[in-house]
Symmetry: C2
Subunit: 280 residues, 2 copies
């Protein structure tokens, strides 16, 4: 039975995909839906917000992962907080330089559902370099006693529900604590169209902690209004100082990302530049 | 009475804005709806496809108009085919160098409805440099006996219904015929996400006529899946050879467009570059 599965924003706009339910369950943290759709293939929604789909996931995962990975000083150790669909760790593990990827996902049932029903996204679950921890990313960032990471990624939901703690200053301080010299922290930072205030708040918080903070932009077709932002934060790297060897290898494997897109993504629309100037 | 006004693509996805009807009529050519909405202000839809809104129109109109206008050899004379909402001619008329803008819009009732109900978009209707012709753009491109234009813009609907003739080779030949030396033709060339085949067909047709053809990309939040393309076609200009004086003036007036966005918009996502290579 096909039906319109709609993501609604403030009862003002909605985006719907004609769907058939493959799985619908309530975990300890959130409602998990995995849908089969004609246009986007199998699709994950959490608390009725679209997270990722087989057909469009490359936009989001490539843009979260590769700008930090082509510019961090080293990339031996990477951490993903969230990311239970497995797309971000898959992109990280494409780099032969990577020796260890740790994923800290709070909801084990998301991982379980995605491993079973979205195997086309999570193709690297069995990579021996991957360690999956089912646990609280906020706690991990604050307290984990581990070797420093070269790249830390926050691949979380919107800052409501279980992801709320993932967007505040204390959490960002924890992420900075985990980074080694030349390391980069990157995160999804919401839609600059419908969540401009949230985007600006994230940026302001990051700027209070990191020396260099640059938002970047790209399309994610299944996200509400279709354009999204990520933010790159570092104390000792730069988004335009690219490791040529890594770039020339990784851009061959990507569907969206390449060196031109990398540069282009950091271009600031004028209204965003003005809004950032006001918070700085 | 608020209701969900949904634009549907192939019964597979839909985008809806909570709306109140300000005007709904059938013209000789199409169904015209003007809606009042909370998130996007007043919004125009033709045949139940969203065209433009007060709050997001700047993305589309700035990106249609300014890449050609900052790079054409001269910009004294400009032509808009379609564009009945008045947004494109408004952006053209911001340039003091412009002496004449001709708009050829097939549906006089669209102009009438927009002049009455979308005055915030069409702010330049009374500019003495503007000549509005209610007529067939295909016929105009083929037959009009006029001085050459420096910039020709196609601001049309999707290639179905009244806009169908605006996407074929004969029409593009007509547009080329109207261009003077150093002139630029630019048009909206559909979503590279859901209309990839149409986008490629437009590109292929343009490449058979013009020496230089470059698609470019940007967000349009109310268009289905939110990212859109335009294409720049010319025989004797180049999108990266920018007139500095025009750019430094015009970028001050824009909400989205600026020199960084200009360059960035031409970056090709890898899957699009590969698809273009296959048609070339």
């Amino acid at each position: 039975m096909s039906f319109w599965y709609d993501e609604t924003f403030e009862d003002k706009i909605r985006f719907g995909i004609k769907s058939r339910t493959l799985l619908s369950k309530q975990s300890e943290f959130q409602k998990i839906d995995i849908l089969d759709t004609d246009l986007f293939g199998r699709t994950l929604a959490l608390d009725e917000k679209y997270m990722t789909s087989e057909k469009d996931e490359f936009y989001y995962h490539e843009m979260l992962v590769h700008p930090p990975m082509t510019t961090a000083k080293r990339i031996e150790r990477a951490l993903v907080i969230g990311g239970g669909d497995g797309g971000a760790v898959r992109e990280l593990l494409r780099y032969p330089e990577v020796k260890k990827v740790v994923m800290v996902e709070i909801d084990g049932q998301v991982i379980e559902a995605c491993r079973e029903l979205l195997p086309a996204i999570g193709t690297a679950w069995n990579d021996p370099r991957l360690e999956v921890i089912v646990g609280d990313g906020v706690d991990y960032a604050k307290n984990a006693l581990v070797e420093p990471f070269d790249v830390v990624l926050l691949d979380g939901c919107d800052p409501i529900g279980p992801a709320e703690g993932l967007f505040n200053i204390d959490f960002y301080k924890g992420c900075r604590r985990l980074l080694g010299e030349g390391g980069v922290f990157a995160l999804q930072s919401e839609s600059p169209v419908v969540f401009l205030e949230t985007f600006l708040k994230i940026l302001k918080n990051l700027k209070s902690i990191f020396k260099t903070v640059h938002p970047y932009f790209g399309p994610v077709p299944i996200y509400i209004t279709g354009s999204w932002s990520w933010t790159y934060a570092t104390d000792s790297a730069h988004p335009f100082i690219i490791d040529e060897k890594r770039m020339s290898r990784i851009e061959k494997t990507c569907k969206y990302y390449n060196r031109d897109i990398h540069r282009a993504a950091f271009a600031l629309p004028t209204y965003i530049r003005k809004a950032i100037d006001q918070i700085s």
